[in-house]
């Protein structure tokens, strides 16, 4: 019974926090525009970076694996680019996503450009 309550609570916390991540970005970050929006080279470079940095957790097709959510969601494609940038920089370390602040700023924008080009399911 206790285990059931624990897992239900855990599932609730995870489902409540992860889709909300873009909304947790501070307004000054969310307001930042993507300098590479619409740039096809940046999108391809972002796909390469995604494969190297993100695909092992979020899946090669970004469809999500286990605890790591699918990134083919409207909450991602419709998020403000600056909010996604903020998530990549800070991670969500108590939810299992590390910070990727070690990536230079242009590479983070390339990943954002790729993520927002994905078709949602």
């Amino acid at each position: 019974m206790r285990a059931a309550i624990f897992y239900i609570t855990l599932a609730g916390v995870l489902s409540a926090t992860e889709p909300d991540l873009p909304r947790q970005a501070p307004p000054q970050w969310a307001a930042r525009a993507n300098p590479m929006v619409g740039n096809s080279r940046a999108q391809k470079a972002g796909a390469k970076l995604f494969e190297r940095e993100c695909a092992e957790c979020h899946g090669a097709g970004a469809g999500g694996i286990g605890k790591a959510p699918s990134l083919r969601q409207a909450v991602v494609s419709k998020a403000k680019p600056g909010a996604l940038y903020w998530i990549i920089e800070n991670g969500a370390i108590y939810n299992g996503m590390p910070s990727f602040a070690h990536l230079p700023e242009p590479e983070r924008w390339q990943i954002v450009t790729f993520l927002q080009s994905l078709n949602t399911r």
Binding site: K48, L49, I93, G96, P98, H102, E105
Partner: protein, 259 residues
């Protein structure tokens, strides 16, 4: 910090020849695992070979890094705790503290291994990222669990990739795959005798190359700046990360079980 679930293997080697001593080659094999996004744990196995002497295993280290703050800031602190059980013959020079000097490297292996170094070490690692530059500072405090005073040391480093944006194509020689930088490290004495007087100090350019398959190669020639320092040290490193090793192992056993 290592990403959770990932295991990185690394070999960190160093060679040098102290004046009046024999050339040595030491290596620390590192196994680094990301337990959580805020917690990384590592085990090192150390060994060395010295010309005209012999090759020996010199001990192990277990370290943990804990990220303190949930979000990025101008300066990002990470606490680092290590227990090491190594002998005095260890020459990996993963850190330089106290009045560590070239004379420590001259003793024969038989003599030096008599000294046991069971030590607790703490570091405060501060890192910043600014316009593609990574700036890192470590302050080291080390204490032998049985005797000896607190020993101090430091390391400072800056590095930057040759290009800040990635190229679309998969490549080994893309400029973003190369990192260059410089680091400075040395001892800071003990709590009774704090300071740089009589300590070893080094400056070392650092170059790293990450291949398209994720293998990283590094080289760092170090130059001694003070009398107690060894004149020249050459560090070579190679590392490879296996992402989500637990999941891969489970899949392997499941696949084996289905046959």
């Amino acid at each position: 910090m290592e990403e959770p679930g990932n295991l990185e293997f690394a070999a960190k080697s160093i060679t040098g020849q102290p004046p009046g001593g024999n050339r040595f080659f030491a290596v620390a094999d590192e196994f680094e695992y990301g337990v959580q996004a805020w917690w990384t744990t590592e085990v090192y196995l150390d060994g060395q070979a010295t010309n005209n002497d012999g090759a020996i295993f010199t001990g192990f280290r277990w370290e943990n890094r804990l990220r303190v703050l949930p979000h990025e800031h101008w300066i990002n602190p990470v606490f680092y705790f290590e227990f090491e059980d190594i002998s005095g013959a260890d020459k990996t020079l993963l850190e330089v503290v106290d009045h560590d000097s070239k004379s420590d490297l001259i003793l024969s292996n038989a003599e030096a291994r008599q000294e046991k170094q069971r030590e607790l070490e703490a570091k405060l690692i501060l890192s910043s990222y600014f316009k593609g530059w990574t700036i890192a500072e470590n302050f080291i405090a080390e204490k032998n669990v049985v005797h000896a005073p607190f020993e101090f040391g430091y390391a400072l480093g800056v590095s930057r990739p040759l290009a800040l944006a990635a190229r679309p194509e998969r490549c080994n020689l893309c400029p973003e795959n190369f990192q260059i930088g410089v680091e400075m490290y040395g001892g800071l004495g003990t709590h009774d005798d704090f300071g740089v007087h009589g300590t070893s100090q080094y400056v070392a350019p650092v170059m790293a190359w990450t291949l398209a398959n994720g293998t990283m190669l590094g080289v760092s020639p170090g130059f001694g700046l003070t009398g107690p320092s060894t004149g020249f040290l050459l560090r070579l490193g190679v590392s490879y990360e296996v992402a989500q090793i637990g999941r891969k192992a489970r899949n392997l056993f499941r696949a084996g079980g289905n046959q």
